[in-house]
């Protein structure tokens, strides 16, 4: 028969291990990056989105109901604030073809609209996302005026985790240094933009610039 102290120690140990396991699991979940498709090195000229000829164009693909994308939106806001108009931002929100009514105009929409200079676009059934190989909400691509891919990946450190991160730092670096020798990339954290196993109906058109 274990003593009270032993039982207390055992209880404490179990409790600590449970907490530690839970926190580790939660951390692992946060660091569990989303999938990334094949992002074209040249601007694919998606319908409805024009490449800015004077400065780089930034596209963020977002799922309007993904809670994790709230952090990506914040980081985008911060990024744009730091880049001082050096990029033309677009936020492309996923929207199913059969919209039952609450996909457009949610909190993330409003957040995006509230960011100055951001152009909000709609991506029905993720067609545009597929063009850019975006499979995870919060996926960002940056093309220079010459249609060249400068960066692709996420701008958060983890799922829904705001704060300094490698993707944001890379974008700021290429915008400020104009170093386009290498394509920047980072992991992206967020909900899946597309339904699993959904085929891509969209044809890719080559950049003309």
């Amino acid at each position: 028969m274990p003593t009270w102290r032993a039982r207390f120690f055992l209880f404490s140990l179990v409790w600590l291990l449970t907490i530690a396991g839970g926190l580790i699991g939660l951390a692992r979940y946060e660091q569990d990056a989303g999938s990334i498709g094949k992002t074209p090195a040249q601007w694919p000229a998606p319908p409805g989105i024009a490449l800015d000829p004077s400065r780089p164009t930034l596209l963020m693909f977002a799922h309007p109901k993904c809670p994790c994308t709230r952090a990506s939106m914040e980081e985008l806001n911060r990024l744009l604030a730091r880049s001082l108009g050096m990029v033309t931002p677009h936020v492309v929100f996923f929207k199913p073809e059969k919209d039952v009514g609450d996909w457009a105009g949610g909190a993330l929409w409003e957040s995006a609209k509230a960011i100055p200079s951001v152009i909000v676009d709609t991506d029905t059934d993720g067609a545009k996302a597929r063009l850019f190989g975006a499979e995870t909400s919060g996926y960002v691509v940056v093309y220079d005026p010459h249609c060249k891919l400068l960066f692709h990946g996420g701008i958060t450190a983890g799922r829904g985790h705001a704060g300094d991160n490698a993707g944001e730092s890379a974008i700021l670096s290429l915008l400020t240094t104009h170093d386009t020798t290498a394509v920047g990339e980072s992991r992206v954290f967020g909900c899946a933009l597309l339904n699993p196993h959904q085929p891509s109906p969209v044809q890719v058109t080559a950049c003309t610039k």
Partner: protein
Amino acid sequence: MHQVIATVRGTENYITTRRDELFQEQQQNIIEHTDWLFARLMTLQWLAGVIATFLLSPRSWSGTESTVHPHVWAALLLGSAITGGPVLLAVTQPGKILTRHAIAVGQMCMSALLIHLTGGRIETHFHIFGSLAILAFYRDWKVLISATGVVYLDHLLRGMFWPQSVYGVLTAPMWRSLEHGGWVVFEVAFLLISIRKSLSEMSNVAERQAKLEALNENIERAVAERTTELTRENTERRQAEARLQHSQAQLAQAQQIAHVGSWEWDIAADLVTWSDETARLYGQSAADVGSPMEKCFRRLHPDDVARSRSVMEQAMRELKPFECEHRVLLPDGTERILHGRGEIIADENGKPVRMIGTAQDITAARKTAEALRRSDEQLRQAQKMEAVGRLAGGVAHDFNNLLTVVTGYSEFLLLRLEEKSPLRREAEEIQRAAERAAALTRQLLAFSRKQVLQPRVLDLNEVVSGMEKMLVRLIGEDIELRSVFEGDLGQVRADHGQIEQVILNLVVNARDAMPRGGKLTIQTANVFLDQKTVFRNRGLEIGDYVMLAISDTGVGMTDEVKAHLFEPFFSTKGVGKGTGLGLATCYGIVCQSEGDIRVYSEPGSGTTFKIYLPRLMERTIETAAPKPSNEMPRGTESILMVEDDAAVRKLASAVLSRCGYRIHEAGNAVEALALIERHPPFDLVITDVVMPQMSGKELHTEIMKRMPTVQVLFISGYTDDALAHHGVLDEGLSFLEKPFSPARLAQKVRTVLDTRPAAPAL
């Protein structure tokens, strides 16, 4: 205060120990209270995390498909796991060390969870700092160390395995964990300082409380000791008061019993206070306490005020004790005689400041002394009367024998002398002189109450009426005689002749008191005395009396005269004008008749003598006494004459022989008894009462043994109570008073012989 405390405990050890106890107790209370605080806080923040998760991250999406967001499960499950353990310990094991360390670990883990759930928002990190501040409530630096350790470990591990989650970069050096931990340590350092200061204050407070408790204990003990002391003092005081009250009551009772009161005079303030008995003696009321001395003097008899004041003033001058007898006039008019004693209390300068004293009621003692004086006077008077009586008796016995002989032979002589005989006048003078001598002898016997009364039922109205003519002649023309008779006057039993003697004496005195004329009133009345009255120490019982009052409008009498009025040989009439036996005779007769005589007189206001005789409640009619005559009835019976005085014996024998009786003579009782033995039975024995060897009464007893039917006639000048009780002849005895005349002897003998019972027929 410290000194007081030190005196209580004697050392600082108690305060130190108590300070530590209080400090630990207070700390434990704080810890338990903080445990409860965190139990609530952790529950609330867990619920808040769950709610926030449901609001912010309810679901995780894949295109149009969604599942429950892992944050929801984390908030529910991991949050409950983090919260449940510490809350359970806080509820079941409050105050334990492990409980607060578990709370510290749990709270830090909860901070990590919330940071996770809120997407690593920098604002949520303040939860860590807030939690550390709240953990500082424990005032236990070890708890902060535990919490800090958890925080640092979390950052260290994250920096090692997921640096981007904490540093925003993909790789970070180890020292960066120290940077984040440093900020936590920065806060903890201040918290530790705060804790140290707080603990110091707590220690100071505990020390102050320990001192206060020690002081309170000292005060409580002092109060308890003082209370006990006061209780004991109160008990002793109550007992003393009870004893004092008992003593005062005893003193008051003793004063009441002894009729001695006490008083005190504050001379400077002129305030007199006194005891209850003094108030009663002086007739003072309670409201008079504190009166000035002058007001107290008002209670004194006016005749005694000046003397009493003089005595007190002299005592104050000489500072000596004093005594003073004085009378007090009570409000109801009663006069009381008090004997006061006092002493003076002077200050250091010899000035009288207080006077204390007592007052003793000596009224009863004075009355007793007066009564004793009167009793002594009465005894002296009685002894004088007894001496006079003895003298009178002795004189009367021989004198009456002589007068009997003188009277008898003078009567014989008158019987033999012719009416025209020149010797008859001398013989009559001899007879009158003998009668006056006899009357004088009777008076001597009367006031000495040695005479033999022969009481009869009398109506005093008739007695006075029968004397009126004689009295009118006696008082003369200048005095008016008035008779006021009560119509239905009761009867009395008295000697007729003696009552006449009384009236005669009083009327003569009244006449002498009115030399210039006046009014003499004789009044009779029935009176009822409803209470026993005493006059001249002679009392009259309650009952019906017949009063005979004789009043004059003469010169009256002083108290001195009244005091000696009834004494024999006391007279105010001057030498040769009175014998001094008149009122003494009256007094003797009335007293011998079971009555009383009282006098009311004031100088210049006349005098009233009131005679009270017991009233007979049943009226009876008695035949009047036969009037004296010179008739000498005859007889032939045999008579034995016993008389030690030969002259009387021969005279009596001669008288009776002349009347035809057969006489045998004996000189004393022995001879008489011898004759009775030798001779045939006698019809009558005449015997003197006072004889040597054997008295007439004893002879009578012996004769009755031998001749029960023989008649006995006693002759005597006085009885000396041999035959009479208080002068009244015993029932069934025949008596002839000396001096007697031959006719009176013959009549009495015949009467006695005729009353013999008839001889039985042979």
